[in-house]
C-alpha cells in the first residue's frame, strides 16, 4: 500500500531487519480438489496437495497421481476415475453430468486425510441477444455496437457468470473483451455490487432483484474490426459463485503478513479447492451489414 510509504523515512533512519527465533508448528497438509461439472463435458478432476505456507506449491510437483478418486451420483458409486497425468483424473465411462443429480467425489490417498465434496449441474438459463445497433461516438471518435442480452431467470436463487468475447478480423480465435472496451449499462453491473476478475473480463453476479423474472442487460462494445460477438452465459452453483468471489478478492487484497491472508472459499471437506457446477449458454451476434 502506498501509505506505508510513510514508513520509509523512518525505516531508512532507524529500522533493523533480523531473523526471529520462531518456529511454526508443522501442519498436516491437505488434498486439493479442483473440478467443474459441465453440461457438455465428461467428469474431469484435478487432484493436488497443499504445501506449507512458506513454500510455493508450483515449485514442487503438487499433483497427486496415485490417489483414488471415486465418483458418486445421488450416493451411489458410479466409478473410480482414471488417473491420466499431472493430477488429472477423468471418467472412463464417458458419462456426462445430468441435471437433478447430486454428484459427489471422494478422494483417498495414503499420505493425506480423505476428502469429500459434492456438486450438481445447474439448469440451463434461457438467454437471447436482441436490439443490435451500431453507433458512432464522437467523443471517442469510434464506432460501437449496442446489443441487449435477455435473461429468463428461473425461480429460486441463481448465480451467473458472464463473459463477452469477440472475433476480430485477422485473428484466428475469439478474444475476451475487457471492461475498457465493454460498457454494461445496468445497475446489476454496478462495480459496487458485483464481482469480476482482476483482468475484468468476466462477471459473476446473483439474480437479486429479478428472481423468476426476465431481465434485459444492455451492452456496448467498441468496433475494432469485430466480426462476431459471443456472450458466454453460465448458470453456476452457489459454491462455485462463492469460490469465484473469494478468488477475485484474493487477488485484489494484499497478502503480506501486514494484513491477514484472504480466505478462499472451499466446499471440499477437510481439504481445499472447489467442486463447482455450471450450465453454459452461448449467444452469438454476427456483425453483418450493420452499417
Amino acid at each position: 500500500m502506498k501509505h506505508i510509504s510513510f514508513l520509509l523515512i523512518f525505516l531508512l533512519l532507524f529500522s533493523c531487519y533480523s531473523e526471529l527465533d520462531f518456529e511454526f508448528p508443522e501442519k498436516d497438509q491437505k488434498i486439493v480438489v479442483n473440478s467443474v461439472v459441465k453440461s457438455d463435458s465428461i467428469f474431469k478432476v484435478r487432484i493436488a496437495r497443499s504445501y506449507p505456507g512458506y513454500e510455493q506449491s508450483l515449485l514442487n510437483y503438487p499433483y497427486l497421481d496415485d490417489a483414488t478418486v471415486s465418483l458418486y451420483a445421488d450416493g451411489e458409486k458410479l466409478e473410480v476415475l482414471e488417473s491420466i497425468d499431472w493430477g488429472i483424473y477423468r471418467s472412463t465411462t464417458g458419462i456426462k453430468p445430468q441435471e437433478g443429480v447430486n454428484y459427489s467425489l471422494e478422494v483417498e490417498h495414503e499420505n493425506f486425510e480423505n476428502v469429500k465434496t459434492s456438486a450438481y449441474l445447474p439448469p440451463q438459463t434461457s438467454t437471447s441477444l436482441s436490439n443490435v445497433t451500431k453507433t458512432y461516438d464522437s467523443s471517442a471518435n469510434g464506432y460501437y455496437f449496442n446489443y441487449t442480452l435477455n435473461i429468463h431467470d428461473a425461480p429460486g436463487k441463481n448465480y451467473y457468470w458472464l463473459k463477452v468475447k469477440e472475433l476480430k478480423e485477422g485473428y484466428g480465435d475469439t478474444e475476451d473483451i475487457d471492461q475498457f472496451n465493454l460498457t454494461i449499462e445496468d445497475e446489476l453491473f454496478d462495480y459496487k455490487k458485483m464481482v469480476y476478475s482482476d483482468y475484468d473480463i468476466f462477471y459473476v453476479f446473483e439474480d437479486t432483484g429479478f428472481d423468476g423474472k426476465s431481465r434485459s442487460i444492455k451492452f456496448k462494445s467498441s468496433d475494432e474490426g469485430t466480426q462476431y460477438i459471443v456472450v458466454e452465459f453460465h448458470n453456476i452453483t452457489e459454491d462455485f459463485y462463492l469460490y469465484m468471489k473469494s478468488i477475485n478478492n484474493f487477488y485484489s487484497v494484499s497478502s503480506s503478513t501486514k494484513n491477514d491472508p484472504p480466505v478462499i472459499y472451499t466446499n471440499v471437506e477437510k481439504g481445499f479447492g472447489i467442486f463447482g457446477g455450471t450450465h453454459v449458454t452461448y449467444d452469438t451476434l454476427y456483425i453483418i451489414n450493420l452499417d
Binding site: F6, K27, K192, S197, T257, V263, T266, I274
Partner: protein, 851 residues
C-alpha cells in the same frame, strides 16, 4: 481598651465581614499562657476591639501556643478549638460568644498552586476529625457543608505540601487555598483518603503533570499517551506508537478529550508521538471502568487531559530542544491577574535542514527526496468575570506533512500527504450558587486528511480529501446537594459530519491528457447526536460510596434514528482503615468507529458513523476489585473485569479498505467481542524511589460471521501477559534517574499455513491471465500466532540546575537500552520468520530552559 460586656444584639447586626482585624498578626508573648492572657494580647492590638462575657470563658485555662506569631484568627481558633466559644467580627469588634447555633454552613473555595495560581484539579479537602471530605472539581472548586463548630481541615494534592487549617464555621466561608509545590511527586498522608479519593481503583487513574514529565520515552520526549501505556489494562499497539488498547477494546474505542475537545487522531508520525505537548498539561485522567454518565461516545476508555490555564502571577515559560523536536511554552497573567494565557508549540526540525542539504548535494533540477514534519500548537485563555463567572477559550491545531518528490529535467512526480486537526472551544463556567457549577461549552473540531499525487510520467493525478467535522454544544451541571450527595447532570448536542472518502483518482490519457478513468467516492454522512445524563454520587456512612448514572442518547444518520440507554453503577465499601472493595457495571455506546487496516496510527484510518445497516457499538462491562494503602508508602490495587462488545466493526476478510471498487460500508463486517482480565497495580508513593509496577493478565476475542469461518478468534492485540514497571530514583535534589521496563506477549498475526494451486489450466476458462497458475494460501485459524515477546528498557537521567531567574534541565537517556528487536511487522521466507524493528537502541538528549 477595656473589656466591654457583650451586647447580644450586636450578633444580629452582622454585616460584611472584613478580614483585616482577624488577619492582624500577633507576636506571641510566651509569658502569658492562659486564655485570658492571650485575649489581652489580642485586645492590646491597636485596631482590634474584643468583646466577650468573662463568665462564658475559662480565662485561666492554660493553652500552649507553639508558634511565635499567628494571626488573630488562628490564635482564636487554637484557644477555643472544640469549645462552644465562637467568635465573630461585627462591624469594628470581634465578639466572643457562646454558641447555640446548630445550623450547617458552606465552606467552599478553590485550591491553587501558590506559584502560578493554577487550579489544582482533584485536590483533597478532608475534615481530619472524621476523615471525611471532598475532592476539588475541574475548576479546583470544593464545597464542604459543616455544622457550626471548629474543624481541622487538611488540603492536599500530589506533589504539594499539604496544608492543615483550623477553621471556625459559624457562617458560610469562602477559602482560596494556596498549596506550595513540594519539589517531588512524593505523596503525603491524606487524611481519610479512602473516603474521599476517587482514584483508589484501577478504573480511574490520575496522572498529574509531574508524573507525566518524569518519564521520558522515545527520543527523550515525554508523552501522555505513552505514559498511559504503562498503566494496567492498557496495551500499547505497535512498537513505539502512542495508540492505546484498553481492556480488549480497539484503538477507536477510546475518547481523548483535550479540555473537553474530542481528539480523533491522536498521533503524529505514525503515532510515535501523541498530539498533546506535555508542557501544556496540568493533569490527565484515564477512566476505564465505573464510567460517570457524563462520559459518552466511547466504549473502552476516556482520557481527560486538562490543560494548564496559565500562570496568574507572572510571565513564565520554557523552551526545549530534543533530537527531533523543538518546543516551547509561555504562560502569564492577563488583566492584572483576572485572566491568564498559556500557549505551547512544538515542531520537528529535521526537515528544515534536509531540503537545503538535498539541493546542495543533488542540485535543484535533478533531485529526489522525502521529507516529513509535524507541529502542533495549543492555546488557552481564561478570564475571570467575577467570583462566580469565568470564561475560557481554547485553540488547538496540529499538522503533519509528508512529501516525496522526484524531479529531473524532464518530469516531476510528487506525493504530498497533509493531515491535521483544528479545534476550538469556548466555555462559560458559572457558579450561580455555592452548591452549583454550570459549565457550558461550544466546541468546533475538524480533522482533515488530504493527499495529492501527481505523476508526470504516468499522467495520473489524484486529489483526495477525507475528514470529520464536529460542532458540539454541551452544558454540564454539578450540584453539591450535601457532603454526602453530589448530582451531576447535563445535556449535549453534537453535529458530526463524516467524509470517509478514501481515495479518488484521475487517470489521464497519455497523449491527449483526457481523463480516461475517474474513481471518486464522495460520500458524506451527517450524524446528529443528542444526549442527556444524570449522575448521583453518594458517600454514605461507614465508608459506603455509590455512583449511580444514566445516560440516554439518540443518533440520527441518514434518516435512521438510533437510541440507547446506558446505565452505569459504581459501588465501594471500606473494609478497613485504608482498604476498600469496589465493583462497577457500565454500558457504553459508540456511534462511530475507527476502521483501520494497519496497526499504526495513520491518517488514512477512517472514522465512520453508524448507518442504516451498521448499528452502534455497545459495550457491557462488569468489574470488581480491592484496594489497600499500606503504611501510606505502598498502594496495591487488584481488579478483574469482564467485557462484552456488540456490533464491532472490522474490515471483511476479503476486502481492502483502499480498493476503490466498493464503498467502505461494503467492506466491513459487524460482529461481537469479549474480553476479560485481571489487573494488579502496586504503587510506591513516597521515598527516594517511587513509581509503580503492574501486571495484567487478559484475553480478548472477536467473532464475525464471515471471518474465520464464523469461529471466535483472538483479537490481534490479545496479549495475555503484560508487565509494566516505571521507577524514578531521586539521587540528589537536582538529579533523578528514571527507568521503564515493559514486557508483553507479542501481537497476534495470521500466517498462511497452506499454499495450494488454483483451478489451473485445465479449467482456465474460469481463471484469467496470470491467476491460472498462481498459488492460493490458506490457514486454519485467524490470529493463531504471536510475534515474539515484546520487552524493552528505557533509561533516563535528569540534571536540574536552578539559576537566579531560570531553571535548566538536561534529560539524557536511552530508549530500548539493551537493544531488543521488537518487530513492527514480520515476513517469512522459506519457513523462517523475519521481523522489521523500527526502533532499535536510540540514545536521546533534551535540553529545557524554564524562566
Amino acid at each position: 481598651m477595656g473589656r466591654v460586656p457583650i451586647i447580644p444584639v450586636l450578633l444580629f447586626l452582622s454585616v460584611l465581614t472584613h478580614a483585616s482585624e482577624l488577619d492582624s498578626l500577633i507576636i506571641i508573648n510566651k509569658n502569658s499562657t492562659t486564655i485570658g492572657g492571650y485575649l489581652d494580647q489580642i485586645d492590646a492590638l491597636e485596631n482590634v476591639h474584643l468583646s466577650y462575657k468573662p463568665e462564658d470563658i475559662e480565662l485561666y485555662k492554660h493553652v500552649k501556643i507553639e508558634t511565635d506569631s499567628v494571626t488573630v484568627n488562628q490564635l482564636l481558633c487554637k484557644l477555643f478549638y472544640k469549645s462552644d466559644i465562637f467568635y465573630k467580627k461585627v462591624q469594628k469588634q470581634i465578639i466572643l460568644y457562646k454558641n447555640t447555633d446548630k445550623s450547617k454552613y458552606a465552606v467552599n473555595g478553590k485550591v491553587f498552586d501558590s506559584e502560578t495560581q493554577e487550579r489544582l484539579i482533584g485536590a483533597a479537602i478532608v475534615n481530619i476529625e472524621n476523615n471525611k471530605g471532598v475532592i476539588a472539581n475541574a475548576e479546583g472548586y470544593f464545597l464542604l457543608q459543616l455544622k457550626a463548630g471548629y474543624y481541622k481541615v487538611q488540603i492536599a494534592y500530589i506533589g504539594y505540601k499539604p496544608v492543615i487549617k483550623t477553621i471556625l464555621v459559624n457562617e458560610s466561608i469562602y477559602l482560596d487555598i494556596d498549596l506550595y509545590p513540594s519539589g517531588t511527586i512524593d505523596e503525603v498522608r491524606i487524611y481519610g483518603e479512602e473516603a474521599v479519593s476517587d482514584h483508589n481503583s484501577n478504573m480511574k487513574l490520575n496522572l498529574p503533570s509531574k508524573k507525566i514529565n518524569q518519564l521520558p520515552l522515545s527520543f527523550g520526549e515525554t508523552d501522555v499517551l505513552k505514559t498511559i501505556q504503562f498503566l494496567p489494562g492498557v496495551q500499547a499497539g505497535m512498537e513505539g506508537t502512542s495508540g492505546i488498547y484498553v481492556r480488549g477494546g480497539d484503538m477507536g474505542q477510546n475518547q481523548i478529550l483535550l479540555d473537553g475537545i474530542p481528539i480523533y487522531h491522536a498521533g503524529h508520525m505514525l503515532g510515535i508521538f501523541s498530539l498533546i505537548n506535555t508542557s501544556s498539561i496540568q493533569k490527565a485522567t484515564l477512566v476505564k471502568g465505573g464510567f460517570p454518565a457524563k462520559y459518552g461516545g466511547a466504549a473502552s476508555s476516556y482520557l481527560n487531559v486538562y490543560l494548564k490555564e496559565g500562570n496568574k502571577n507572572k510571565h513564565t515559560g520554557e523552551f526545549s530542544a530534543g533530537l527531533l523536536t523543538l518546543s516551547g511554552m509561555a504562560e502569564g497573567p492577563l488583566s492584572g491577574g483576572q485572566g491568564s494565557y498559556m500557549i505551547s508549540a512544538r515542531r520537528t526540525w529535521l526537515d528544515l535542514l534536509e531540503i537545503p542539504i538535498v539541493v546542495a548535494v543533488q542540485g535543484f533540477d535533478d533531485r529526489e527526496y522525502a521529507s516529513y514534519y509535524f507541529g502542533d500548537i495549543q492555546t488557552k485563555i481564561t478570564r475571570k468575570i467575577n467570583d462566580k463567572n469565568k470564561l475560557a477559550f481554547n485553540i488547538f491545531k496540529s499538522s503533519d506533512k509528508y512529501k516525496n518528490l522526484y524531479r529531473d529535467y524532464n518530469s516531476e512526480s510528487k506525493e504530498v500527504f497533509k493531515w491535521g486537526t483544528t479545534a476550538a472551544s469556548f466555555s462559560w463556567i458559572c457558579r450561580p450558587t455555592v452548591k452549583q457549577q454550570v459549565n457550558t461549552t461550544l466546541i468546533f473540531h475538524q480533522y482533515k486528511f488530504a493527499k495529492n499525487q501527481d505523476y508526470d510520467i504516468d499522467r495520473i493525478s489524484a486529489n483526495n480529501k477525507a475528514g470529520t467535522t464536529n460542532l458540539i454544544l454541551k452544558s454540564d451541571v454539578e450540584y453539591f446537594a450535601s457532603n454526602q450527595i453530589k448530582i451531576d447532570y447535563g445535556a449535549e448536542i453534537k453535529y458530526n459530519l463524516y467524509n470517509p472518502n478514501v481515495i479518488g483518482i484521475v487517470n489521464y490519457n497519455l497523449e491527449e491528457l483526457i481523463p480516461v478513468q475517474r474513481i471518486n467516492i464522495p460520500i458524506t454522512y451527517i450524524a446528529t447526536i443528542g444526549s442527556i445524563y444524570s449522575d448521583l454520587n453518594y458517600k454514605g456512612e461507614k465508608g459506603f460510596t455509590l455512583n449511580l448514572g444514566l445516560r440516554a442518547s439518540t443518533c440520527i444518520v441518514d434518516n435512521k434514528t438510533r437510541s440507547s440507554i446506558q446505565p452505569r453503577i459504581f459501588v465501594r465499601q471500606k473494609t478497613g482503615k485504608n482498604s476498600s472493595v469496589f465493583a462497577a457495571f457500565d454500558r457504553t455506546v459508540q456511534y462511530k468507529q475507527l476502521l483501520t487496516t494497519t496497526r499504526l496510527t495513520i491518517p488514512t484510518d477512517l472514522w465512520v458513523p453508524v448507518t442504516d445497516k451498521i448499528a452502534p457499538l455497545q459495550s457491557n462491562q462488569i468489574s470488581a476489585g480491592y484496594h489497600i494503602n499500606l503504611n501510606n508508602k505502598y498502594r496495591l490495587t487488584t481488579e478483574t473485569y469482564l467485557k462484552q462488545l456488540f456490533n464491532c466493526l472490522d474490515i471483511s476478510n476479503n476486502s481492502d479498505l483502499f480498493n476503490l471498487q466498493k464503498q467502505w460500508t461494503e467492506k466491513v463486517e459487524t460482529g461481537s467481542g469479549r474480553a476479560y482480565g485481571f489487573e494488579l497495580l502496586v504503587e510506591k508513593t513516597s521515598g527516594k524511589i517511587n513509581g509503580w509496577a503492574s501486571y495484567t493478565n487478559s484475553r480478548t476475542f472477536r467473532t464475525f460471521k464471515n471471518i474465520n469461518q464464523g469461529k471466535e478468534y483472538p483479537y490481534r492485540f490479545d496479549k495475555p501477559h503484560v508487565v509494566q514497571i516505571a521507577a524514578i530514583y531521586k539521587i540528589k535534589e537536582n538529579i533523578s534517574l528514571s527507568a521503564n521496563w515493559i514486557f508483553a506477549n507479542g501481537m497476534r498475526f495470521t500466517y498462511p499455513e497452506y499454499t495450494y494451486q488454483n483451478l489451473g489450466r485445465e479449467f482456465s476458462e474460469y481463471s484469467s491471465g496470470s491467476n491460472i497458475s498462481t498459488d492460493l494460501i490458506s490457514y486454519e485459524n485467524k490470529n493463531e500466532y504471536q510475534y515474539p515477546n515484546y520487552h524493552r528498557l528505557d533509561l533516563g537521567i535528569e540534571f536540574k540546575k536552578f539559576k537566579k531567574r531560570t531553571f535548566r534541565l538536561w534529560t539524557i537517556g536511552i530508549y530500548n537500552a539493551y537493544l531488543k528487536y521488537n518487530p513492527y511487522y514480520v515476513e517469512s521466507y522459506d519457513g523462517t520468520l523475519y521481523g522489521t524493528a523500527l526502533l532499535p537502541t536510540i540514545p536521546f538528549v533534551k535540553y529545557t530552559v524554564k524562566y
